[in-house]
């Protein structure tokens, strides 16, 4: 798998349920090429966030398989089988959560250098240098020694993004990263993500912000009821959806927005 069009991520027949009755993912098949920016939209409970959590290796799956860069990453033979997660592969994926999840007892820069130093054995001085540079780039140079509690929501979320980037991920996952923010702070976080997009960072984004989705996506997936309903370029899925369910959803969202 060395050709240019080989998938970065291949998700095959992914099933996932919480308990015996709540099936969240019902056989998902998604392929993602290198350099793609996939935005996943859909109604609440449709499995978007679960998909991202599975991709990060935070959830067990019932059955199915995920490969990353051609290598097996996650697999499970059935509901009672063990979910096998390759932690080596997992390290090349970064994730940012809705509620920041910064470590509150560590300063901003300590939050950034913890993983590189402890996971990769990077020298503290070099990690600090990279962290400081990253913070400067995100307009947070002056906040290196602040504690998370002293930052605004937008600043916290930018720190969380920087923290994930410290491990040079090959794929970034963003799970509703602006949902908890005050409206005036949303732009500064989206700016940072757009910056990453310009550098061709592959990413998978779950968001309710359709304007952001249109701006950043190279591809939009509409997920509902645990399956992919529609999958295509943003102009199509957001502008002229082919599927009835997608159209209903888009109509509703945009009516509320306007």
């Amino acid at each position: 798998m060395t050709s240019a069009s080989a998938p970065l991520v291949a998700i095959r027949a992914l099933h996932k349920s919480y308990g015996p009755h709540i099936q969240v993912l019902k056989g998902l098949d998604i392929e993602m090429k290198p350099g793609e920016r996939v935005v996943v939209i859909g109604p609440s409970g449709g499995g978007k966030s679960t998909l991202l959590r599975v991709m990060m290796g935070l959830e067990k799956i019932d059955s199915g398989a995920v490969t990353f860069g051609g290598k097996p990453y996650i697999s499970s033979a059935g509901p009672d089988a063990k979910t096998v997660i390759d932690t080596e592969v997992r390290r090349s994926i970064g994730m940012v959560f809705q509620h920041y999840t910064l470590f509150p007892h560590l300063s901003v820069i300590q939050n950034l250098v913890l993983a590189p130093c402890k996971v990769r054995g990077e020298k503290k001085a070099s990690a600090m240098r990279r962290a400081q540079a990253l913070l400067e780039r995100f307009g947070l140079g002056a906040k290196a020694n602040a504690f998370p509690a002293q930052l605004s929501g937008g600043q916290k979320q930018r720190v969380a993004i920087a923290r994930a980037l410290m491990l040079d991920p090959k794929l970034m996952l963003f799970d509703e990263v602006t949902s908890a923010l005050d409206p005036e702070l949303v732009a500064e976080v989206e700016q940072v993500i757009l910056q990453l997009a310009n550098q061709n960072m592959p990413m998978m984004i779950v968001t309710h912000d359709m304007w952001f989705a249109r701006n950043i996506a190279s591809r939009v997936i509409f997920c509902a009821g645990g399956v992919v309903v529609e999958d295509g370029p943003p102009e199509q899925v957001l502008g002229a959806p082919r599927e009835e369910r997608t159209r209903e959803f888009i109509d509703r969202v945009f009516h509320i927005k306007q």
């Binding site: 932690t87 997992r90 994730m95 509150p104 007892h105 993983a115 509690a149 923290r163």
Partner: protein, 221 residues
């Protein structure tokens, strides 16, 4: 009746000695009790059901019975069972350490539990190995969150330590009762003893509120 607090002046030294015993006993048992409590708190979250069971029985039993009876048990029964003499101090230390261990284990357990799922998700997303998760995230957070409650546990211990007077250990309360009996001036003597306890415990409880505010502010995300 007329009150005469000047009788107390003659007993300054005795009271100071008693207070020193109280403080010494409290400090020793804070150190030993917190260490025990931490281990027991961990044991109560252990995957092994037997370890968890033993820890739970210990904690529930010590929290479910009067400290006075625990003290009597250690003073009168433990030497019989072990077949050795135990000094007053040793018995007092054992009894109050076991008491402190039981209450602080609950503090540690609650704070360990308070390190939420989201923090664990972040640890996994950053690929932190288990050891780093425990040493750099869970433990520091849990200990920080535990500090205010631990401080009030210390105040409780300081107050409960007065019970050792009932088994003849010469702490502040014991000395006070002796003086009160000898001088037949219980009102003056016991009031002063109470005020001494108050003068130490009250600022500590204020400190708890202060520290709690600071820590909550720092840990709020």
């Amino acid at each position: 009746m007329s009150l005469d607090f000047s009788v107390l002046l003659r007993f300054q030294e005795a009271l100071a000695l008693g207070l020193w015993t109280t403080v010494k006993l409290t400090l020793i048992c804070i150190v030993l009790g917190c260490s025990l409590g931490f281990l027991v708190g961990l044991a109560r979250t252990a995957p092994n059901a037997i370890v968890r069971g033993i820890a739970s029985v210990y904690v529930e039993f010590f929290r479910g019975t009067p400290v006075l009876i625990q003290l009597f048990w250690i003073f009168f029964c433990l030497p019989l069972i072990l077949g050795i003499e135990l000094s007053n101090l040793a018995s007092g230390v054992i009894a109050l350490t076991l008491y402190m261990g039981a209450i602080t284990s609950e503090t540690f357990r609650a704070s360990l539990k308070s390190v939420g799922r989201e923090q664990m998700d972040a640890c996994i997303a950053l690929g932190l190995p288990r050891r780093v998760q425990v040493m750099n995230v869970i433990l520091p957070l849990a200990v920080l969150r535990a500090v205010p409650t631990l401080l009030s546990n210390c105040v409780s211990l300081f107050k409960e330590s007065a019970l050792v007077s009932a088994v003849g250990m010469a702490d502040l309360m014991f000395v006070g009762q002796n003086i009160s009996n000898n001088t037949a001036r219980p009102v003056e003597v016991l009031t002063v003893v109470a005020l001494i306890y108050f003068a130490i415990a009250f600022p500590l409880t204020r400190a708890v509120t202060l520290v709690e505010g600071r820590i909550l502010k720092k840990l709020a995300i």
